[in-house]
């Protein structure tokens, strides 16, 4: 195995000619495949193309932390698109042996392998990462570089870690099956759901999938299971009030509303409620958002969203739901279905259910927290039901906008 292949397999970036990436990749893989059967043999696997756009180094670092886990669960060809605010620091990259005389190009390219050992004694499974860097202002060049690099016949995902109104996004999205967004990521202005809704309405975007939504999977499943109980289903036409609480951020800072709003939007859309307005009182962590709805029968209904300020910090990522309580309207208002996490055991939720005529004993269901790597791996691995998400989003976006 030559030294370029050895660096490539060990995870070091190897600089390649941006106009000849496939050939250079082939020459880097070849010595590894020639070793097949020998002690250095590796398996090259690829289930999908994962294109990732990074507006800056912070997002890049975040992705670098979670990608090894994603690749272990779901090996992909990863195509990183990077915008370099400080010029192109090509000198940091290793030139590929013999292939390094990069022709002058305004983009810079490097490749590296990501390998993981499925089990002791089994050859490592590797996939490749291609990184394209553009100078700030020259990002449009990235758009034209993606299509030729996609492995044919397998799905293409675009994980967009930047602004969802970036004009580059629809350009790249036309080659893509699903755009991955994150409704939890609100540090830039706090109103990300309307942007996600805008994105999902673009003709170039086939489907939007959301890490925050996927993170609500266990909540949705638990609520659905509660309503498998015929007695709970009888309550559905009577439900008129919803309370959702979320985990606080440190220092009393406001925390992402994305997941609470989506959970509320999902419950409301499943119940056939239509958004009718909102009122906001209080500020920061003390904010209470009251959302008004009309039910299918034209009756008023409402939801209130707030931060649970007395919840111990750090036991659950800020912004994640802690409570969902669906209650009946008068005169049966003591009937409710409730799922709540308490600070003592944050990996489980207490579920309770009571109607005027019957009371189920409270139960506990595990509500494990999934890492972002696990959520992303799930998104890559499983089909989605886009209309359920879209309907939830339609209601959630005006709630926060």
């Amino acid at each position: 195995m030559n030294s370029a292949t050895a660096s490539f397999l060990s995870g070091l970036p190897v600089r390649v000619n941006p106009t000849d990436i496939e050939r250079e990749l082939a020459s880097l893989w070849k010595p590894a495949s020639e070793e097949a059967g020998g002690s250095d043999a590796v398996v090259r696997a690829c289930l999908a193309n994962l294109v990732i756009f990074f507006p800056g180094p912070e997002e890049r670092e975040y992705a670098a932390r979670i990608l090894p886990e994603v690749s272990r669960r779901h090996p992909n060809r990863i195509i990183n698109l990077l915008v370099d605010r400080n010029g192109l620091p090509g000198s940091r990259l290793e030139p590929a042996g013999g292939a390094g005389e990069a022709r002058s190009s305004r983009l810079e390219a490097s490749v590296t392998a990501m390998c993981s050992a499925p089990a002791p004694g089994i050859a490592p499974v590797c996939c490749e990462q291609i990184t394209l860097r553009a100078r700030l202002g020259e990002e449009p060049l990235l758009a034209g570089s993606v299509a030729p690099l996609l492995v044919p016949d397998i799905p293409v995902f675009l994980w967009w870690t930047g602004d969802y109104r970036n004009p580059l996004l629809p350009w790249i999205a036309r080659f893509v099956d699903r755009v991955i967004v994150d409704s939890r990521n609100e540090k830039k202005g706090g109103v990300i759901l309307p942007d996600i809704r805008h994105l999902s309405s673009l003709p170039e975007v086939k489907e939007v999938v959301d890490l925050g939504w996927r993170g609500l999977g266990r909540w949705r499943q638990t609520i659905a299971e509660l309503f498998d109980d015929p007695a709970a289903r009888r309550l559905i036409p009577e439900i008129g009030r919803l309370e959702v609480e979320r985990a606080p951020a440190s220092g009393g800072a406001p925390c992402s509303l994305g997941q609470s709003a989506l959970l509320t939007g999902w419950i409301a859309s499943r119940l056939g409620w239509a958004f009718a307005g909102k009122e906001v009182s209080g500020e920061g962590a003390g904010e209470i958002r009251t959302v008004l709805f009309r039910t299918r029968d034209g009756l008023p209904a409402q939801a209130s969203l707030r931060v649970k300020r007395d919840f111990p910090l750090g036991r659950i990522p800020s912004g994640e739901p802690l409570l969902a309580r669906l209650s009946a309207r008068a005169p049966a208002e003591e009937a409710f279905v409730k799922i709540a996490i308490d600070g003592a055991s944050p990996k489980a939720a207490k579920v309770s259910f009571q109607t005027p005529s019957l009371c189920r004993l409270p139960g506990v269901v595990p509500l494990p927290h999934f890492s972002d790597g696990e959520l992303l791996g799930e998104i890559l691995n499983t089909p989605v039901h886009p209309f359920v998400f879209r309907e939830a989003l339609e209601i959630a976006a005006p709630m926060v906008g």
Partner: protein, 552 residues
């Protein structure tokens, strides 16, 4: 899973719901778009044989993993039953070793274990005494009230087969085998009656371990005895092979890909080989194994199930009976073997001393508590035929043995060779046909062998292999078969359990082999050195048809 028991609960006084409420029960609107949804109702799981190996090594770890993944019902209790005197607490303590060994991510300090163990109980009783069942019944009713388990029962018979029938009979006599008559709102006395539709009749299901009978008459007898007390829909006969992901994947592979099914018949397939090879011997199970042997232990159940999945027609749906109907048709179409046919188309062997991976291995007859003159086969090879339109003239070769060179289970579909040798003599080695291999274990995957031109000016064709490995593409470990099967039984899905007729048709096919070999004794028993691929006489099965056992 239940929280710590809270026997009484304050219930608000009944309030009338507004008039005009629709009478029909609304659909569950939240269910839409939820993946892998199965309705699991509250229940008590009673494990008969709770101090045994299966409970400790497989069942409890599987239940714990299900609880960890949030797949068990919210209200569940586990009651272990065996003779040994134990308290709830000492039983819980005894389970820890097995959980540490077998459950992914078990830790005693985990709050999950603290909650899980609070729903585990022990009930000392003998399988054969009716008093114990009455006391059990009372205890289960108390648990219903304390934990909200709603009268639903899953009885798991992790016991020796001699107890299957007595336990079910005594369950019946104690009134535990049939769902209680009348409604059950599930919350015990604290709960006043709910509106119609909020009540359901509880269910009772019985999971029966293997072996299900030791020949056709005993299987028919056992079925008769179970069905005297239970409905067929209450009986879940375990074949843990069906719980394996890769076995289920046979159906996914066949029926979710358009390209294979058109080729899946006698026009394109030359023959099928199914191999279940084990490198282990009988270990400490000598007496049990000696009374059973390779045919009963592996072929009648697991291998015939693999055969049925490979050979069945597409079912009309994936519902339990639709799938099982098609499997039964395959088993019914197996060409019965006359005693002469048994001698021609079946080979049995027994391992002699040898070595595996450099370690000397003793002969079967020298294993602990195995008779020195035992004629029990540890190896079986069969050639059989399925007499239906699809498989006319296609032989199926089955082989299974202990102390073979390595552990491997695979199904190999060998296609016909091309009708003419276009590449002449140069392609001679490539006359080796296409083979599609479904690897079941240990290295789960699918491979296709095909001919390819060797680069160069001359025409040389050689076989190459295209490999797909689950482990390479899906970096997530498959759950243990018992997790899937327990969850299915709790959810009332019997697709992966064998139905009465399935078991009986499988025994019907195997019975002439058992009878002929019993009559022959040691005559015709072939010995093979441990660490080899079985007796050479097994190659005889390919005579006339061409082909050979695959080198694995």
């Amino acid at each position: 899973m239940a929280d710590s028991p809270s026997p009484t609960i304050a219930v608000p006084p009944p309030t009338a719901l507004p008039a005009g409420r629709p009478a029909a029960l609304p659909e569950n609107p939240f269910a839409e778009g939820i993946r892998n949804r199965r309705v699991v109702e509250p229940c008590v799981i009673v494990l008969f044989g709770a101090t045994g190996d299966l409970t400790h090594r497989k069942l409890l770890p599987a239940l714990y993993n299900l609880a960890r993944d949030g797949l068990l019902p919210q209200h569940v209790a586990i009651v272990g039953l065996a003779r040994r005197e134990k308290t709830d607490e000492s039983f819980r303590q005894d389970l820890i070793e097995g959980l540490k060994r077998s459950s992914r991510s078990f830790s005693e300090a985990d709050p999950l274990w603290q909650r899980f163990k609070s729903a585990i109980f022990y009930h000392p009783a003998s399988f054969e005494e009716s008093l114990g069942y009455r006391v059990l019944g009372e205890r289960l009713e108390r648990l219903d009230k304390e934990l909200g388990t709603e009268g639903n029962r899953l009885f798991y018979l992790a016991t020796g087969p001699e107890y299957f029938s007595p336990i079910v009979r005594l369950l019946g006599e104690a009134g535990l085998a049939r769902p209680q008559e009348g409604p059950n709102s599930g919350a015990g006395p604290a709960a006043p009656a709910g509106p119609p539709g909020s009540r359901k009749r509880p269910w009772v299901r019985v999971v029966v371990e293997k072996p299900f009978g030791r020949d056709l008459p005993s299987a028919i007898g056992l079925n008769r005895e179970l069905l005297a007390v239970l409905e067929e829909s209450q009986i879940y006969r375990i074949d843990h092979y069906l719980g394996k992901e890769t076995v289920q994947n046979i159906l996914a592979f066949r029926f979710s890909n358009g390209i294979f099914e058109p080729l899946w018949n006698h026009k394109y397939i030359d023959h099928v080989q199914i191999t279940v090879a084990e490198d282990l011997g009988v270990g400490s199970r000598g007496p049990y194994y000696d009374s059973s042997g390779a045919l009963r232990d592996m072929v009648q159940n697991h291998m015939l199930q693999l055969l049925a999945l490979v050979a069945m027609e597409p079912p009309v749906s994936m519902e339990a009976d639709a799938v099982r109907d098609e499997k039964v048709k395959v088993l019914r179409a197996l060409r019965p073997m006359t005693p002469e046919e048994v001698l021609r188309s079946a080979i049995r062997g027994q391992y002699a001393a040898g070595s595996i991976l450099g370690e000397p291995v003793r002969a079967y007859r020298d294993e602990d508590r195995v008779p020195k003159d035992s004629a029990t086969p540890t190896y079986v090879a069969l050639r059989l035929h399925i007499d239906n339109w699809r498989w006319a003239g296609v032989p199926f070769y089955l082989r299974h043995g202990k102390r073979l060179p390595r552990r491997a289970t695979e199904i190999a579909i060998q296609f016909h060779t091309p009708p003419m040798r276009l590449f002449g003599e140069a392609s001679a080695p490539a006359a080796s046909p296409n083979v599609l291999i479904l690897n079941i274990q240990p290295d789960e995957g699918i491979s296709l062998c095909f001919g390819s031109k060797v680069p160069g000016p001359d025409v040389r064709i050689r076989q190459v292999k295209m490999d797909f490995r689950y482990g390479h593409s899906f970096g997530v470990a498959s759950p243990d078969a018992y997790e899937r099967l327990l969850l299915d039984a709790i959810a009332g899905d019997s697709t992966l359990f064998t139905r009465r007729d399935e078991v009986e048709y499988a025994w019907k096919f195997v019975n002439p082999l058992l009878e002929t070999w019993a009559a022959e004794g040691s005559r015709g028993l072939h010995f093979y050195p441990a660490g080899t691929w079985g007796p050479e006489s097994a190659d005889r099965l390919f005579e006339g048809a061409g082909g050979h056992w695959r080198r694995m």
